[in-house]
């Protein structure tokens, strides 16, 4: 039986590894509870996104090769970060001039909730009695297409929220602007500090007004930026990564 379990390589982005180990733990525990055989390759490094987005894509070829050699042997690669997954999936074939890599990555690498939805067809059962504010991280939303963006006029769908349809007590905050960017944007957050802060504050105000009790997202980077502004202003909207919420419900 053990052989039929999917073998999942856990990809934990650099900043999650160092600053949010609890998100890594939650991701690992969810996958284990759902009967996956999970390995965390110890030699993994960064996917190279920060460099590439700064205009130094050409310097990341070795990082890309290193990533692939650490991960391609698994059935699936799963990560609690839409942004890093998007970078690997959408940019690696181009950076490495290897168009055939695309279909391989398409079938292999997934953001956590996307994996739970698309591959494990999970319907989370349990209770989570909170009003949850979902921040739609841009790279997960528009990049990976986890839900319909507000600009596009196709049939609505939302892979993330649909995972929670059976969860009792959970109410989603109704935001004024359902998918405006939080303003993090990697080095944008320091290069364009004033706008970055202004965008973050506006997102937080929207959540406060909507009565959000817990703020969540697919990406810890957005949450890190929003929490940092919140902390500086001495308000304290609790922040949980989706992995932590899911892990708590299905425990």
């Amino acid at each position: 039986m053990a052989q039929t379990k999917p073998h999942v390589g856990l990809f934990i982005p650099c900043y999650v590894d160092q600053f949010y180990p609890q998100v890594g733990k939650a991701t690992l525990e969810i996958l284990e509870k759902l009967n996956c055989n999970v390995s965390y390759p110890l030699n993994q490094t960064c996917c190279g996104q920060p460099l590439a987005n700064s205009g130094y894509e050409r310097d990341t070829k070795d990082a890309c090769q290193h990533f692939l050699s650490s991960f391609l042997q698994f059935d699936f690669i799963v990560s609690p970060s839409g942004s890093c997954v998007h970078h690997v999936k959408e940019r690696y074939p181009k950076i490495l001039h290897d168009p055939e890599l695309q279909s391989l990555l398409d079938s292999k690498i997934f953001e956590l909730t996307e994996f739970l939805h698309d591959i494990l067809s999970l319907e989370i059962q349990g209770t989570f009695s909170h009003k949850v504010g979902y921040h739609a991280s841009c790279h997960a939303l528009r990049g990976l297409g986890l839900s319909k963006s507000s600009e596009v006029n196709t049939a609505p769908f939302d892979k993330v929220k649909s995972l929670f349809e059976k969860v009792e007590g959970l109410e989603w905050s109704q935001l004024q602007r359902s998918d405006e960017c939080c303003g993090f944007g990697g080095t944008f957050s320091v290069k364009e500090e004033a706008i970055s802060l202004s965008m973050g504050k506006d997102r937080l105000t929207d959540h406060h007004e909507a009565g959000t009790e817990i703020l969540t997202a697919t990406d810890m980077s957005c949450l890190m930026h929003l929490q940092a502004i919140e902390d500086k202003n001495q308000s304290s909207l609790p922040v949980m990564h989706l992995a932590e919420i899911i892990n708590q419900i299905i425990s």
Binding site: F19, G24, N53, E57, D59, C138, E151, V152, N153, E192
Partner: protein
């Protein structure tokens, strides 16, 4: 001045910045509602994008077809390779008509060519007849938005300006009253003008006609009263057939302002008896952009402005912060093609959120082009300190050991450094934000202690 410095300045006036953001967001919402009423909206976008794809791939002979048909209709066609040639053509026509005053309806191309200052230097008065454009012209400012040129100004600013320029009542901010004053002022100019200049929204190769879309009817008023009509058109504004026009007209106004169609959609096919139409076809860097594989489809743009209205950065920094004729996301992928050094900060004025790409009626992959321009800019303008740190980082990312050491150091640094160092003014992140609370143990260490033996 870099975009970030200009935007920091813009955000200093918090109340105005909030108003600017909300006003443009309101227009984005109007666009959403209008587009949702068209069930085939997404198909229209795909169709429009493919038609423009076809145009860009066949631009050479479509332009010749257009020229031949326009000439047959009695339109005089001129080819301008750059802004200078364009301006000279306009001046020559005006001189031939002994015309010292010309009315002009909105044309971003003439802004791009800096036609107004050129004509003024040559003793010709230019009167912009679009209300918003007239307002910014009074203030000696460029437009801050391609569809809403005076969107950075509030009613009270305009009331004050009209009081000075048009002697309206001081403090009267009634939009109807102010518009009437502008109408009377402009009417007088219209009646006197012998030559009228307009832009072009669409040129139709099959028929040799061109189409101008406005809301105020000022283009028509100018053209019909004047003896000579000069139409300035970028070579990418072409569409193959009249049949294709409907696709674009349905997308344009809905994307721009949420209207189903612009109030005036005027077709110009040939001059009336005794009158003249001159059409100037302008390249000014377009052929070069067409040759850049990664950036060529930026030329599909129909100038609806939707990417500006949706952009969280444009809304919070205003058009002037871009310091280019076309601001916002589309400006940030067009301008570096004109002057890479001058506009090098623009592709970085984005979080790459992708909202512009999703809103664009002709499906330009704007945010991907922003990413691509970043790659070009770091190659063309090397910043040695930055490129060295990137080389260092890339070395770290390919070596697992170096990576672990640097991550460990970063976390320990944050745990152990005093707040006075973490939040000093040189630390940009920490000015308006707290640093994350660093945990004692990384995920990797935890994994080694708790899971490793099981493998």
């Amino acid at each position: 001045m870099s975009h970030s410095i200009a935007s920091t300045d813009f955000l200093k006036n918090e109340e105005h910045a909030k108003w600017h953001d909300e006003t443009l967001w309101m227009i984005r919402e109007k666009r959403d509602l209008a587009s949702q009423k068209v069930p085939e909206w997404e198909n229209l976008r795909t169709l429009a994008s493919s038609i423009k794809e076809h145009v860009l791939s066949n631009l050479d002979h479509l332009l010749l077809e257009f020229e031949a048909n326009a000439t047959k209709n009695g339109i005089q066609v001129h080819w301008a390779k750059d802004a200078q040639e364009h301006n000279q053509f306009v001046l020559d026509i005006l001189k031939k008509q002994s015309c010292a005053q010309v009315v002009k309806s909105k044309s971003i191309l003439t802004e791009e060519c800096h036609l107004n200052p050129f004509l003024e230097k040559n003793g010709i008065e230019v009167i912009d007849t679009d209300l918003g454009e007239r307002i910014v012209q009074f203030l000696h400012q460029p437009p801050s938005h391609i569809v809403l040129p005076a969107i950075h100004l509030k009613k009270r600013d305009i009331s004050e300006l009209f009081h000075q320029k048009l002697q309206t009542e001081k403090g009267n901010e009634d939009p109807y009253y102010l518009t009437q004053a502008a109408r009377n002022h402009l009417r007088e100019k219209f009646l006197k003008a012998k030559v009228a200049i307009t832009g072009v929204n669409f040129g139709i190769a099959e028929t040799g006609e061109f189409v101008v879309c406005t809301n105020e009817g000022n283009a028509d008023m100018g053209v019909h009263l004047a003896d000579v009509h000069i139409a300035c058109m970028g070579i990418e504004k072409l569409i193959p057939r009249r049949n294709d026009l409907g696709v674009f007209l349905r997308l344009l106004a809905r994307s721009a302002t949420g209207q189903a169609i612009t109030n005036y959609t005027s077709h110009f096919r040939g001059p009336e008896k005794g009158k003249q139409i001159h059409l100037i076809l302008v390249d000014n860097g377009r052929t070069e952009q067409l040759g850049r594989e990664k950036f060529r489809n930026s030329l599909k743009c129909i100038r609806c402005g939707a990417c500006m209205n949706t952009c969280p950065i444009y809304r919070r920094s205003g058009g002037f912060s871009y310091q280019s004729t076309v601001p916002g996301p589309i400006g940030s992928i067009l301008s570096p093609g004109l002057d890479l050094k001058k506009y090098s900060s623009l592709p970085f004025a984005s979080t790459l959120c992708g909202s512009c790409t999703d809103v664009c009626p002709v499906k330009i992959n704007i945010h991907e082009q922003l990413y691509e321009w970043r790659q070009e800019i770091t190659k063309a303008n090397p910043n040695y300190a930055e490129s060295l740190s990137m080389k260092l980082a890339s070395g770290i990312f390919k070596s697992p050991l170096a990576y672990r050491i640097s991550g460990f150091l970063m976390r320990k640094l944050i745990i152990n450094l005093p707040d006075s160092l973490l939040y000093n003014p040189w630390n940009v992140w920490g000015k308006g934000r707290k640093l994350p609370k660093a945990p004692q143990e990384s995920f990797r260490n935890w994994y080694l202690n708790h899971r490793k033996d099981e493998q």
